[in-house]
């Protein structure tokens, strides 16, 4: 019965060290250390970095990337990618505001329909990827272009005001001092974490990303899983779009331009593999924090925005590169054992 006996027997001491060095847990730990390091650097440069005010600010401005990155993590783990997230986020705001302002649909219902449109886009992405078997990058590159175009056409390129206190609560309000969008994000992360690590559906996603063939042969409904994942990504992007609109009290067809790259960077920084089958939501969460804090700190330390590009690009490469090198070292340690 004792399943670890065999493990004990077959794994020698250095091997365990290698396993530790190599593990995802360590990737996440490493990342966490990177995060702390960045925080320390900024704290030493700015007196305001470590203030409650700034914590709340970071929390408030984290939600959009955070929420989308949940869906992206799941999509990447399933072996795909979703480039359409930014466009979809813009779509939800635009549809909601158009319905509310021009068709007199009640705001609540308008929001639901706006999200529904995003779910539909996600589903169509999923259909092309899972059923038509078109490469996800191509599929979502196409919908990236199409949906952004639609957002512009629907809104005639206009920014629309969405001033409604109830609507603004999501983006600006707080619950016992904690920003509502942060709470939403954390709740979604927690739910997604449970799904990915403790349910059949989540484990199946890892299996599909690891080997779609193995999964299919094991009787997993691969197509259905992929459909759900892309639909979910559409929904979460839409939700992020609503958070944006709620924060700004307006919707614009240009919203969330380039969001896909930020999100993918955060997720990959968090240790999720672009080739599928591997990754954790915890890592993603830390990745999201790192990117946000980096931006936050660079603004606060008044680094010119041209340099900000250079710095964030370099941090991305350094963090991922360092992790690569660490894994190679781990492999070397394992070899020596």
């Amino acid at each position: 019965m004792n399943t670890t006996v065999a493990a004990e027997r077959s794994r020698s001491q250095p091997l365990r060290l290698a396993a530790l060095l190599k593990g995802e847990r360590l990737t996440t730990l490493n990342l966490f250390a990177t995060f702390i390091l960045i925080c320390l650097i900024f704290a030493s440069q700015s007196d305001f970095f470590l203030t409650l005010d700034n914590f709340l600010n970071v929390g408030r401005t984290l939600g959009v990337v955070g929420i989308v990155s949940i869906g992206m993590t799941m999509v990447l783990i399933s072996g795909g990618v979703d480039l359409s997230v930014g466009s979809v986020a813009a779509l939800s705001g635009v549809v909601t505001s158009i319905l509310w302002l021009q068709a007199d649909v009640p705001l609540g219902l308008a929001t639901v329909i706006g999200l529904g449109a995003c779910v539909l886009v996600g589903f169509i992405n999923g259909f092309f990827v899972a059923v038509m078997r078109i490469n996800p990058l191509i599929t979502t590159l196409a919908s990236f272009s199409i949906v952004r175009g639609l957002a512009f056409v629907l809104s005639s390129g206009q920014t629309n005001q969405l001033s409604n206190p109830a609507f603004q609560f999501l983006g600006r309000g707080d619950v016992v001092g904690i920003p509502a969008s942060l709470l939403l994000m954390i709740a979604l992360f927690a739910a997604a974490f449970v799904v990915m690590h403790f349910t059949q559906f989540g484990r199946n996603l890892y299996a599909i990303g690891g080997s779609a063939e193995a999964s299919r042969l094991a009787g997993i409904a691969v197509r259905r899983h992929l459909l759900i994942v892309y639909t979910l990504s559409g929904l979460l992007s839409g939700l992020a779009g609503i958070v944006i609109a709620s924060q700004l009290a307006s919707s614009a067809p240009r919203a969330a331009v380039g969001l896909e790259f930020t999100v993918i960077a955060a997720v990959v920084l968090g240790g999720t593999s672009l080739s599928g089958g591997k990754g954790t939501l915890i890592g993603t969460l830390v990745g999201v924090f790192i990117l946000r804090v980096l931006d936050n700190g660079l603004v606060q330390t008044r680094v010119s925005s041209f340099y900000q590009d250079v710095v964030s690009g370099s941090v991305l490469l350094l963090a991922v590169g360092f992790d690569q090198i660490r894994q190679k070292l781990a492999a070397a340690v394992k070899d020596r054992s």
Partner: protein
């Protein structure tokens, strides 16, 4: 009489207009093992993939317990109690062994909703399944961290551990050593006793004779015949499969004893790699075929990889033709005159979407180019030469992509590549995995001939028959150390197994 457990009737299947199954019918009774034999590309795997809903049949019918069934997807087969051990490995590398074993059907707990995974239960079930085959692998190990052979074993355990009425095994023993094969046969007999029907595909005729009740032979997608084991002989089966008879290895061996090896071509001195092998000293002479036999995890595969430079070793020297060679990468190995035929030809050996011609010339471009461009005619001539010499057969000529070659022919292409690269030493890993009797015999003949021309060959194989019949000299390895050396005439199955299991020779 009761209806057969499974009947496949008049199955027809074409790929791109080429008929690969032509009116094939088989039936399988509860509690029996039906062997499916045939050359590479005869259609065995295609037939069982149709049974598993993996391929869609163009015609014909599948009946279970006499009733027609619809199998559109592996899920349907799963629901009908059909289990597969595929020839190709399929697994999720980042998941644990336990999760892979129970893929798609993880045990759950957690109240009415019942959607949380019961990890304890899962690991327990996995552990039990592993114990079935006496496999010493922790259920929590990640699949990624296992060796190819261990993964193959997990694949077998996976099929055996699930509730099944029909189990199909497509060359399950390719990676197994004799004791493991015996353990598998024990399990198969147990399953038969419980009324499970088994379809068993193998290119090893001795196994088929041992385990099968009836034997079905396919040739070129056609059903040649089905006979009870008692009514066929080794010779008659080969005749049915290949359409010709194959010479007895023993005779070939008797002839080859005349060969006297030349100078030492490959010498390994004190080669060590922590955790893999330790102070290995060995020599292979020009014209000599040295077999290297060991059980799972003995380090022989890693040893050949290290000699070629595919992995790094910690210490030791390698000499080719008496000259020390600094080998830190496959490029170094190639430059030193060593060729390496890897374990999994599809993953490590071939660029599947490239033509036979291009695969053959892949390791030796220098002589084929002038002014930086390929000499088309010369390249054609070189590759044709090997196709003819090794008897590589393919439907569409030399421009056929290697993906569409049978396993044996794929293996020959990899061989041809190194011969074209003009190597002095050839390291072979399991050169006949999944290769049919005819092609296997071809490959053996080629190895003999190449040795006779002065090539030094070091061959790793877990097929003890193969080691015994092909090698001039045999080394055994146990836990990373060489434990025995046998001349061809001394070696017997018992001695080899004893030495390979760590006993002193």
């Amino acid at each position: 009489m009761t209806a057969p457990l499974l009947t496949m009737q008049h199955i027809v299947k074409s790929f791109y207009g080429v008929k690969v199954l032509d009116d094939v019918s088989i039936d399988l009774f509860a509690g029996e093992t039906l062997a499916l034999l045939g050359e590479n590309g005869a259609g065995k795997s295609t037939l069982i993939k149709i049974l598993n809903g993996d391929y869609r049949r163009d015609g014909g019918e599948i009946l279970i317990d006499g009733q027609p069934v619809n199998i559109d997807a592996p899920r349907d087969a799963e629901n009908l109690g059909i289990r597969m051990i595929y020839q190709e490995l399929h697994y999720a590398p980042e998941l644990s062994v336990a999760e892979n074993l129970l893929l798609g059907a993880l045990p759950r707990r957690g109240g009415a909703l019942n959607w949380l995974i019961d990890w304890q239960q899962m690991n327990r079930q996995a552990h039990e399944a592993l114990a079935l085959l006496n496999v010493d692998i922790a259920p929590t190990t990640k699949m990624r961290d296992l060796s190819v052979v261990e993964r193959e074993i997990i694949e077998i355990v996976k099929a055996l551990s699930r509730q099944a009425r029909i189990i199909v095994m497509d060359e399950p023993t390719a990676a197994l050593t004799p004791p493991e094969v015996q353990r598998l046969f024990g399990i198969i007999r147990g399953l038969q006793a419980r009324g499970v029907g088994i379809i068993y595909i193998s290119h090893r005729l001795d196994e088929v004779f041992e385990i099968a009740g009836r034997i079905t032979v396919l040739r070129d997608g056609k059903h040649v015949g089905t006979n009870p084991r008692a009514e066929v002989t080794h010779q008659s089966l080969v005749q049915m499969m290949v359409g010709r008879s194959i010479e007895d290895r023993a005779e070939v061996r008797a002839q080859s004893e005349a060969i006297t090896p030349g100078a030492v071509a490959l010498e390994v001195r004190g080669l060590s790699k922590a955790g893999a092998f330790n102070t290995i000293d060995l020599q292979v002479r020009a014209g000599e075929i040295v077999g290297l036999f060991g059980l799972l995890g003995a380090g022989h595969t890693l040893l050949t990889q290290a000699i070629f430079g595919a992995i790094k070793s910690d210490s030791g020297t390698i000499l080719v033709d008496g000259t020390p060679a600094r080998i830190a990468s496959p490029q170094d190995g190639q430059r030193a005159g060593i060729g390496f035929v890897p374990l999994d030809r599809k993953v490590n050996g071939l660029v599947l979407d490239m033509s036979v011609r291009k695969n053959i010339t892949l390791s030796n471009w220098r002589v084929l180019t002038r002014f930086g461009a390929f000499q088309r005619g010369l390249e054609m001539q070189h590759s044709r030469n090997w196709v003819d010499q090794l008897g590589i057969r393919m439907a569409g000529g030399i421009e056929t992509h290697t993906r569409y070659l049978s396993g044996g022919n794929q293996q020959k292409v990899v061989l041809a590549r190194w011969l074209e690269a003009n190597v002095r030493v050839l390291l072979l890993n399991e050169p006949t995995w999944g290769v049919d009797v005819g092609a296997r015999s071809d490959i053996y003949d080629q190895l003999e001939a190449l040795a006779a021309q002065g090539l030094a060959i070091l061959m790793v194989s877990s097929d003890i028959e193969e080691v015994l019949s092909v090698s001039h000299r045999i080394l055994t390895i146990y836990k990373g150390r060489l434990t025995g050396e046998f001349s061809q005439s001394d070696a017997t199955q018992e001695k080899l197994l004893h030495a390979a299991a760590g006993g002193q020779s």
